[in-house]
Symmetry: C2
Subunit: 166 residues, 2 copies
Amino acid sequence: MTLEIRERLNTFIKAKGLRHTPQRDAIVDVIFASDEHFTADDLWEKLRGTDARTSRATLYRTLSLLSEAGLLEEIDLGDGQTTYDPNFLEKPAHNHLVCVDCGKVIEFEDDHLEVLNDCVTRRLGFQPVKQSLRIEACCDEIRSSGQCPNLLDARLQGKRFPGKRR
Amino acid sequence: MTLEIRERLNTFIKAKGLRHTPQRDAIVDVIFASDEHFTADDLWEKLRGTDARTSRATLYRTLSLLSEAGLLEEIDLGDGQTTYDPNFLEKPAHNHLVCVDCGKVIEFEDDHLEVLNDCVTRRLGFQPVKQSLRIEACCDEIRSSGQCPNLLDARLQGKRFPGKRR
DNA sequence: CTGATTGCAAATGCTTTGCACGCCA
DNA sequence: TGGCGTGCAAAGCATTTGCAATCAG
């Protein structure tokens, strides 16, 4: 997996006349070891756990590079920071449901949705480029049982919730 | 129009034990004189044109207040700043099409979309709270004629484009 | 009077940039 | 060797906050 991504990155890098560096490899390795969404800061923390040391500047620059190369998807969950999705090569879905109770993000697909969005876009006189649906909702679980396993975790981690900057 | 909004705000303010101030009135007047989307900075500029002077802090605090009161809708167009929509009381649509060529934002409604979103949400085990669809697209006009009237305007105004922070 | 509100300036959080140095091709 | 890439610190931006003065009810 990581190897395939490295390959793709190298192709992109050569085509652009850019350079292959250990920092870039290290960042790619850490990112694609998982298929979870992450923020720049999440990545920074993970990187600290390894012996590969990069600066925040390089981290951000590499993140941009990977997006440009089409290996990473930038998504905006509305919490004041960019979230990255390493998983969209396999699952080209950009629909996110954000739980207003616990902040959990669920990615989902729906063909009907896709078709409908396309129709609407064309009707307005546009050519579709990218679509992202963001649904804020509260889970049945917290409404019935009064609590949600993710909630406590989120609070403990001091996570910011959707729509609010702090 | 503005008067109706002032009325609503006063009700909210009294209910919360808050206070009625000239600054708040001034901001409300400027906001609801139009039904266009705006950013905090747009508002700041408009305010400079009047004799009503407020600080940026008060501006932001009032914007939050109005959102809380349900008179203003905060929307995130993904350009690193919050956009406000004074128009959603009449048109409860939160679907936005952003033109990647010129940055123009089009608000639209679609019943099918609404229904479908609701279904999807429930299927995932959630109760819908708020939905916002953001479509990035390029307009037919610029593809056929090679240019778009909004494009030049946007460039001249130094606008930031969707998805990019600067 | 009393507590909500304001303005100012400083602080914040995320992200980008300038610059001098180092390293890949 | 040329110039891309890196790290560091400083800069940027939008937004928030602490605080003392001020004002509304």
